[in-house]
């Protein structure tokens, strides 16, 4: 049973709440309320600070009780520090570090207070008391070390072997076995959240679309929902259908790519080669809709830029059928290959308890038997009327995470086919309007990596006083680190690909 403690105001996704209706607690009370909520089965969706001047910071916590579709919010005003609950509730540890780094506050009692993005705070205060004149070097600091005569340390990155974003991985190894992996990111930090302040402005939507460029539709949908909520815009069902089609096409492209990449990392080239091509086929379907493969410019607050007329619908159905046949053939080979399965099974295992403890989302969580999916638990748009069964697997290993993706490919294809066959009527653009002032709104979307949360707080003029983005990767990077324990270091690429997390989505 995961309904939220009374300390949290009940909120609904996309419905703005006047800030003064959010319970205002002090630091210890908010921490206690969060800890109680987590103990009773809820989880942290977003937890962030906003500098308020005069040395004060307003902390906001958004919690979810999935089994009751509950969302709750509360806030606290703090000065120099706030109590950490990370020891008892590991799913909060990265959020607390982020608050420390952004606002210059110390989470008292945090077990491993390290920077997140290696940059200065917004307030001039520094949670680590670093010299303001000295540069902050990314990835430089104390890494968790295992001491011993035969223990060695392997450092990888930021620049990695392939065409991939940068990050730093520090392994503590004994022979082949990894005792511990620590991941240091921040190399992709572009200053997105600061750039969104005082918006919306001309740049805003383009920044949203490039938070994580392979999740353009996911983030654009979350932003649009947030702004539509604040403006009181009512979208037509046709808009919701088109957006969902785009979101599922994004999922299909990336899952196909991931399945190919997982096969590739076991050295199984047939599936890898075919999926590399078929991923492009799905991207080209998005391009039929939007003119470009990532869906840039498809969404806008109030609607979508392009309609699906009969010509596009027929073209998409035709391509969908071809891609379905090709991808089924390509991925089937992988499951039939004993040598591939031997690499995938039992590798990178995360138990359901670990997934809950770490607050994982998306296929990484579902592969550990944790049935979390925003499309079912906090549905918005067309998902309120057309459900996709949640795909889970129990073994928590690379195979399970791959299998979840495979199940989702099938279900998303069926969903897109159904939506194309039954497009609702309505205008494709209802326009936008001024945003409600002094309000909080939360939007949740199940991106292909997992739960995306956008939380916007407006000022007296209806401009963003804070825009907090949580990409699913922010929850899941610690899951990858945990999954490597006890694994062979040569299985790292395979485990990494079974999570396939976003560096820039984490770094913002």
């Amino acid at each position: 049973m995961s309904s939220l403690p009374a300390a949290f105001a009940k909120i609904k996704a996309e419905k703005p709440v006047p800030l003064d209706e959010l319970p205002l607690l002090d630091g210890p009370a908010l921490a206690a309320a969060m800890r109680d909520a987590i103990r009773e089965g809820s989880r942290v969706v977003s937890y962030f600070g906003t500098p308020k001047g005069e040395g004060r910071t307003e902390l906001v916590a958004i919690m979810a009780g999935d089994t009751t579709n509950a969302l709750g919010a509360a806030r606290a005003l703090v000065k120099e520090g706030f109590p950490s609950i990370a020891r008892d509730c590991p799913q909060t540890q990265l959020f607390e570090r982020e608050i420390a780094e952004q606002c210059g506050l110390v989470p008292e009692g945090h077990p491993w207070l390290k920077p997140v993005r290696y940059r200065r705070s917004w307030t001039g205060r520094d949670a680590w008391g670093r010299d303001p004149a000295a540069p902050i070097l990314p990835g430089v600091g104390d890494f968790y070390r295992v001491e011993g005569e035969e223990v060695h340390e392997v450092a990888v990155g930021p620049v990695h072997a392939g065409i991939i974003e940068p990050g730093h991985f520090r392994f503590q190894c004994h022979g082949e076995e990894v005792f511990h992996l620590e991941i240091a990111l921040g190399y992709q930090h572009r200053g997105v959240e600061e750039s969104l302040l005082k918006g919306p402005d001309l740049r805003t939507f383009r920044l949203i679309e490039t938070i994580a460029g392979d999740t353009t539709i996911g983030h654009a949908t979350a932003y649009s929902h947030a702004v539509e909520g604040l403006a009181g815009t009512r979208r037509s069902p046709r808009v919701d259908a088109i957006r969902a089609i785009a979101l599922e096409l994004e999922r299909l492209a990336n899952h196909t790519g991931d399945l190919g990449a997982i096969a590739g990392d076991t050295g199984y080239l047939p599936t890898s080669s075919f999926c590399g091509r078929i991923r492009g086929d799905f991207l080209n379907m998005t391009a039929v809709l939007a003119g470009n493969r990532f869906g840039r410019g498809l969404l806008r607050p109030g609607g979508v830029a392009f309609d699906i007329a009969d010509a596009e619908r027929d073209e998409l159905l035709k391509r969908l059928a071809a891609a379905e046949s090709d991808v089924t053939n390509a991925v089937g080979l992988m499951w039939d290959s004993a040598s591939v399965m031997a690499r995938l099974e039992d590798t990178g295992r995360l138990t359901k308890e670990e997934a809950i403890e770490l607050g994982l989302v998306g296929p990484a969580a579902r592969g550990s038997g944790l049935a979390r999916d925003v499309r079912r638990d906090h549905p918005s748009g067309i998902y309120r009327f057309a459900q996709i069964p949640v795909a889970t697997a129990d073994s928590g290993d690379v195979y399970a995470r791959a299998n979840v993706r495979w199940l989702e490919v099938g279900r998303s294809i069926a969903f897109v086919r159904d939506r194309l066959g039954a497009l609702p009527s309505g205008a494709i653009d209802s326009g936008s309007g001024p945003l409600a002032p002094n309000s909080l709104v939360v939007a949740l979307v199940e991106g292909w990596r997992g739960e995306i949360c956008h939380a916007a707080i407006t000022d007296g003029e209806g401009r963003f006083a804070r825009y907090k983005v949580v990409d699913p990767s922010f929850h899941n990077w610690p899951g990858l680190a945990r999954a490597l324990r006890g694994q062979e270091i040569s299985d790292f690429p395979l485990c990494n690909k079974s999570f396939n997390l976003s560096y820039c989505g984490h770094d913002l």
């Binding site: 620049v159 572009r190 200053g191 392979d214 470009n292 039939d336």
Partner: protein, 268 residues
């Protein structure tokens, strides 16, 4: 084994004939090289500047002397089409020409055409010099560095290695170590946190070497231009750039066209 062979038979041979044949079809809604019609724009008067006013990256330059029309700096352009929608006279369209790469930064500025306007043909990229082409024209190994990229440019560079595109047939390959590379291909606006790693990677590449900037971020900072956390593109690092490939992200065909021009396989 038999299953894999049967699958290969079903999936078929998919490598495109381009550049020996036609390029793969582009989507009907594709936005390529912009065409700015000076006659429609100013109608004898000064330009109205509505397009420049809505551009998210200030890519539109309006000199606004009498009879002038805007030009678009493709290095900053996101190809979002906001200017097209803002123009009251339909003076801007984005055509289907995907051949956007240039050898010089200044060549990325697209000027209007029409009576009274300085109609300049778009100067596409030319091959590297003869000596470099002799060394690298048939075997160009590149090290990719994502310096704050959002992963879209990275994905569309990566796709060039898949069977449809098959970059390897041109002798172009992405390598794991800068020591094995002949050049660097950079995506992303060059975040402060990647400045040192990018510089070290470039320095580790033995000369002679080339540098390629792919995507609006790598050319000008893209949507992140102006953020204090980014340098604003490869040009800001002091690394001399040999090929500029605009887009957000550039279509794989645009990237491939640029690379093939660089090695002299496609000439203007």
């Amino acid at each position: 084994m038999l299953k894999a062979m049967l699958a290969r038979a079903k999936q078929g041979y998919r490598t495109m004939r381009y550049p020996a044949g036609d390029p793969p079809p582009l989507p009907a809604r594709f936005q390529g090289l912009p065409i700015i019609d000076a006659a429609r724009c100013a109608e004898g008067d000064r330009a109205c500047e509505d397009c420049a006013a809505v551009c998210p990256t200030k890519a539109i330059i309006v000199t606004n002397t009498a009879g002038s029309a805007p030009s678009i700096d493709l290095g900053a352009c996101l190809f979002c089409g906001d200017c097209v929608r803002a123009c009251p006279r339909g003076a801007i369209t984005f055509g289907k020409d995907y051949r956007l790469s240039t050898s010089r930064r200044e060549d990325l500025v697209v000027e209007s055409f029409g009576p009274g306007a300085d109609a300049k043909t778009y100067a596409r990229a030319v091959a590297m010099g003869r000596e470099l082409r002799r060394l690298l024209g048939r075997s160009l190994k590149l090290r990719e560095v994502s310096a704050g990229g959002c992963n879209a440019c990275e994905a569309d560079v990566n796709v060039l290695g898949t069977v449809g595109w098959d970059l390897g047939r041109f002798g172009i390959q992405f390598v794991a170590s800068p020591r094995h590379a002949d050049g660097i291909l950079v995506t992303g606006p060059v975040t402060r946190n990647m400045e040192l790693a990018l510089k070290k990677t470039w320095d580790a590449i033995p000369g002679p070497k080339v540098a390629i900037a792919v995507g609006s971020c790598a050319i000008s900072g893209g949507p992140f231009a102006g953020s204090p956390e980014v340098l604003g593109g490869l040009g800001s690092t002091g690394i001399p750039v040999d090929l500029w490939v605009p887009g957000c992200p550039p279509h794989p065909l645009t990237i491939l066209d640029g690379l093939l021009r660089l090695i002299g396989k496609i000439k203007s």
